[in-house]
Symmetry: C2
Subunit: 248 residues, 2 copies
DNA sequence: CAGTGGTCTAGACCACTTA
DNA sequence: AAGTGGTCTAGACCACTGT
């Protein structure tokens, strides 16, 4: 087959990109479309290779691309599963506030307010939606080790997450799981900007901070596989007993 | 050859690890030993494959491991070069303080003090050296966009960097380049812990901060390829016009 | 042009999981 | 035992870089 066809020229010349990247993209689209929901197993290498008419080696390379971008996880002898936010490893990828000694501390949330409102300029810019659109705003405190530690504003596009402002349920600790399970929307990466701020009235009241105490403020924009902004979040963190950890 | 030998069993059974990882490790050792200094080209795939008696595919896999851990960089048509800290990409891997809009800003250093002294308990712990050892301490201010923005304490093992406290030269902006070029010591990764602090006298004086103004404090331990601690650094950052950026 | 890394293939065999 | 992913090989061809 190799001697006749110089590596499936029809597919190759269509888009100028290596075959394995094209396949990787096709698989990503099928995952993003909801065909294979998070937590489910996708077909085996051999079967996918047959589907796309490529060698198994090329298909492996395509899958490895998805592994390195945290889209799927592979288990030898079992299969390839679409990454879900409830796995232990994924849970802490987006939660970098740890105890001073580096140990994990499970956060506990209390929602202070939740409502639908018109996006401010800043929020619309961050979420990449037209100014004047509606957003759902969630305001909550997160406790670490029994004490209030994070005061957090979360903004999401109301059009995309319609109904979430009226959900009767108590919100789960990790919103990303909720986005994934109820709205088929997986946060794939996030970008953060960190500054230091002096505590104001809100932080004095809800974080038991001293007036003017130095706190971390983290601005985060979370994006899905298509690089579309999913959530804008501003967190204010008390760092008396905890710190933001980062591996370079 | 494949029918006779089940994938070079002699090498394989010696250490229980995939061949390509063993080779990757061997190459890393040769790089760390100084045989191929930073910035130089290592032998071609074909020649290395012959040296280690493995197929070219296996050797590629070994090299790709080194690529993903930022040890080497490959250029099609040219060759494989040992990563150096002076490449534009590497320079900003360890410098995450950017302007609010996300643009880079080249820092400018002024050394306030530099001397040899006995390590404190904290410093010895961070550098993983025996308490009572000598460290070189560098204290400097870094300007961003013409204004003092970072007040930084740097600690390095005096035994490893002997002579650096007496160097007559003005220290370069990026110490990591100096470590690499003069001490054959490459910083391969780093771990950071970030807190918020209120400005004290030092920061008021050198960063022109208001008394009590909230500042970022970053504790960083930098390590080499062997995961040995190279440098301990405590930076205090003014975030009026800059922020710490991070991609998750 | 020769030499480098990048892609793709085809097939053998190994290691792990499940039934 | 059957099915999955993981390793290793061998070789063809492509794309890019220098002389």
């Amino acid at each position: 087959m190799n001697s006749e066809l110089p590596a499936s020229p029809d597919v190759k010349s269509a888009i100028f990109q290596p075959l394995y990247l094209q396949i990787s993209q096709l698989l990503l689209e099928r995952i993003a479309s909801g065909e294979w929901p998070a937590g489910t197993y996708i077909p085996s290498e051999a079967s996918l290779a047959e589907t796309y008419n490529v060698s198994i080696g090329t298909l492996r390379k395509a899958l490895n691309e998805l592994v390195s971008s945290n889209v799927v996880i592979r288990y030898q002898g079992k299969g390839t599963v679409v990454a879900a936010h409830d796995s232990d490893s994924a849970l802490f990828r987006f939660f970098n506030i740890l105890r001073d000694n580096g140990e994990r501390s499970l956060p506990l949330s209390r929602v202070l307010a939740r409502h639908l409102r018109t996006a401010s300029e800043e929020e619309a810019l961050a979420l990449d939606i037209v100014p004047g659109s509606k957003v759902i705003h969630i305001w909550r405190v997160r406790d670490l080790d029994g004490a209030p530690a994070i005061l957090e504003h979360v903004y999401i596009d109301a059009a995309r997450f319609s109904g979430m402002d009226r959900e009767p349920d108590i919100l789960p600790n990790t919103l990303y799981q909720l986005y994934q399970q109820k709205y088929a929307c997986t946060v794939a990466n996030a970008h953060e900007q960190i500054k230091a701020v002096n505590a104001g009235p809100d932080e004095v009241l809800h974080l038991e901070a001293e007036e003017g105490e130095a706190l971390l403020r983290i601005y985060r924009i979370a994006r899905d596989f298509q690089d579309k902004a999913v959530e804008y979040r501003v967190s204010t963190v008390m760092t008396r007993h905890h710190a933001y950890f980062n591996q370079l």
